[in-house]
């Protein structure tokens, strides 16, 4: 009985201290996410980097310190157009072997760490790092360099096959299409269907349609497709 009570207490504490992702992605996790969670952003049809940048922009704009670790390909100008406060973003270039040590030091001072998922998949001391992130309530967001999918047709499943990295939450761009190129003579906006998931959602998956990027570059929620049947 006492065990049940203590676990119920822990659960209620967990629920009351949940945090929400910035708009419009908060609607993917209506109850919020556990502070200090790891989030994997995937997009086999494209869109992962845009989602990551959008979250980075909103978090930094609220005055949170964010770190971008070993992602030289990410276009920070896109985050700037989405309203990011670049003064609250630290960009760290480090060799893969030093990444765990570096992240471990920055966790207590930052609210968000954005990292190339490939490094997390191959990290040895990952469990220790993720538990430190939980203690410091820092969200770790991992996203895959899109050129990997382009050059070797790899997706997140291929990377994670031999990895101990089990993200708490996942955000997946499952379907997307662009408004025609030739009619407007350039790309305009992309309609993306994004699905939330992960082991902390207890099997609950939510699908929503977004415009990402919209013509202004920002993410716009289009419509709710409701829960996904498992």
């Amino acid at each position: 009985m006492s065990t049940f009570l203590s676990s119920a207490q822990a659960l209620s504490q967990e629920i009351t201290s949940l945090v929400h992702l910035p708009e419009p992605f908060d609607s993917l996790f209506p109850n919020g996410i556990i502070p200090g969670s790891s989030v994997l952003i995937k997009g086999e049809t494209g869109g992962a980097s845009s989602i990551a940048l959008s979250i980075l922009a909103k978090m930094s704009a609220k005055g949170n310190w964010c770190c971008v670790v070993s992602m030289p390909w990410i276009t920070l100008e896109v985050a700037y157009t989405m309203g990011a406060n670049l003064e609250n973003i630290a960009v760290l270039d480090c060799i893969p072997t030093k990444i765990p040590q570096v992240i471990s030091h920055i966790l207590p001072a930052t609210s968000l760490v954005l990292i190339d998922a490939e490094y997390l998949f191959s990290m040895k001391n990952l469990k220790l790092l993720l538990s430190k992130a939980r203690n410091t309530t820092t969200i770790i967001i991992a996203s895959i360099n899109p050129i990997k999918a382009f050059s070797c047709n790899l997706n997140s499943a291929d990377f994670s096959r031999n990895s101990s990295f089990m993200p708490d939450y996942s955000i997946t761009a499952v379907k997307s299409y662009w408004d025609s190129l030739n009619r407007s003579k350039r790309v305009l906006n992309r309609h993306v269907t994004i699905e939330s998931g992960g082991r902390r959602t207890h099997g609950l998956r939510i699908r929503k349609d977004f415009l990402l990027p919209s013509e202004t570059g920002e993410a716009v929620l289009l419509r709710d497709q409701g829960l996904v049947e498992l």
């Binding site: 049809t45 005055g63 390909w73 920070l76 100008e77 207590p108 050059s151 190129l181």
Partner: protein, 444 residues
């Protein structure tokens, strides 16, 4: 105030991590004067007093240094001479020589954003004090009262007095020596020892109410050889800065034998009070925590690998984000002009600074070519990276010619850009440059 005349060389666009790459430049500058110091990668300072007489004046020295460094780094460099490091750096941005004692006139119209303390600069902007001239006119006592010692230091800079080089007192009392027995080869261990020695030095200085901005680092080796170098810093040296300089010096000389001693001499010191934060105004636990964390990270990956971005409107994506070291201010000019030829929004989320060569073929398997009038000779049908899978092109648009720096023969570049939509709904920005197709960016 007695200030050294300094010549500052700025190498625009030099990678902030690449201190070692400037070693040939420093070796070359030592031929002009032994007082050469790398402030940070891309910025070198040298004392002009002796060499300017020898080379027939400061302007002639500046020209000689400029020609000589440009040849080594294979790009144009900026050179400036003034009293003190702060003014000399600003003079270098304009390729000017500021006469002795004329710092106040030179700095008068400069925006306060050039000050190295961003907090003070931001506060001054909010107060409507937009130029260093206006700031310099304020009463020194009032500045000290309102803005604390950090503001006082900036006020001294605005008045043309660089407090980083106030006195020159190289005394044995302020030197630290460490004999390493047995000698060691491992660079990481050397840096760790240098940090410890640096800590001891900083503590000794603090006991005397002093800090240092110029040190001489002498490294002794097992085979009897030694390496001596002068190092300047805009802000007082910390133990981590000293460890950084030791690592750079070792990388410069690439020693063949093990290190047997480290000797740090304080060349110039000044009163600590000038650099202390005021008690209440700068208290910010969040920024203190990140500062502390980044200082620790600096010890692991080096200060140049930690960058704070800033937006600078420009035509190219690679130039639109400028990086500075943590704690440095962004001295960016207002460049918010209409930039014709700039990539229209939305911008690609993934941009590759070193674009990968890619194959763009038409229906017959022939390479897609573009005429000199920017018209496609054949239609893109498939795209693939070397040894990668083949993607069919669903739709495409362009090409747009982009000519960069047409006025500069060496840096002139002409690219032709196209956007392609692939069968997997991925949109890529491709460029034709030097007759080869490159993957510039992905609209991920």
């Amino acid at each position: 105030m007695n200030q050294d005349r300094l010549l500052v060389v700025l190498v625009p666009g030099w990678p902030p991590q690449d201190a070692e790459g400037l070693e040939p430049v420093i070796k070359n500058l030592i031929d002009f004067t032994p007082g050469v110091s790398l402030i940070n990668p891309g910025r070198i300072a040298l004392l002009t007093l002796g060499p300017s007489r020898y080379f027939g004046g400061e302007n002639s020295l500046a020209e000689k240094v400029k020609t000589s460094v440009s040849k080594i780094v294979k790009r144009p460099v900026n050179v400036g001479i003034a009293d003190g490091l702060f003014a000399a750096t600003l003079a270098a941005k304009q390729n000017r020589t500021i006469l002795k004692g004329k710092n106040p006139e030179f700095l008068y119209t400069m925006p306060v954003g050039v000050l190295p303390n961003s907090e003070v600069a931001g506060l001054l902007m909010k107060l409507g004090i937009k130029t260093l001239g206006l700031f310099a006119k304020l009463d020194r006592k009032a500045v000290l009262e309102r803005l604390g010692t950090g503001g006082m230091w900036c006020h001294m800079l605005a008045c043309g007095n660089d407090p980083t080089l106030i006195t020159t007192n190289s005394s044995d009392e302020l030197a630290k020596y460490l004999e390493i027995d047995p000698p060691i080869e491992d660079f990481d261990r050397v840096t760790f020892l240098a940090k410890q020695l640096g800590n001891e030095l900083i503590e000794t200085l603090e006991m005397k109410g002093l800090c240092t901005t110029t040190i001489e680092l002498e490294l002794g080796f097992e085979d009897g050889s030694n390496s001596k170098k002068l190092w300047h810093n805009e802000l007082p040296f910390t133990a981590l800065d000293i460890a950084d300089r030791t690592r750079w010096q070792l990388n410069f000389i690439q020693p063949v034998s093990s290190l047997s001693s480290i000797n740090i001499n304080v060349i110039s010191s000044c009163v600590t009070g000038l650099f202390q934060d005021s008690l209440f105004t700068s208290f910010n636990s969040k920024s203190q925590a990140i500062e502390k964390a980044l200082k620790k990270v600096e010890g692991i990956i080096g200060g140049n690998a930690i960058k704070i971005p800033s937006y600078l409107p420009s035509r190219n994506l690679e130039d639109s984000i400028q990086f500075k070291r943590f704690g440095e201010t962004h001295n960016l000019e207002n460049m918010d002009f209409p930039w014709p030829g700039k990539l229209p929004a939305p911008l690609p989320a993934a941009y590759y600074h070193n674009p990968t060569v890619i194959k763009v073929l038409d229906e017959n398997g022939e390479k897609v070519l573009i005429t000199s009038r920017a018209l496609c000779k054949n239609t893109p049908s498939t795209v693939s990276i070397k040894n990668g899978p083949l993607f069919k092109v669903k739709d495409w648009c362009g090409p747009w010619p982009r000519e960069e720096r047409w006025w500069d023969i060496e840096r002139w570049k002409r690219k032709l850009l196209i956007q392609v939509l692939l069968e997997n709904e991925m949109v890529c920005l491709l460029s034709l440059f030097k007759e080869e197709w490159h993957l510039e960016a992905i609209y991920d």
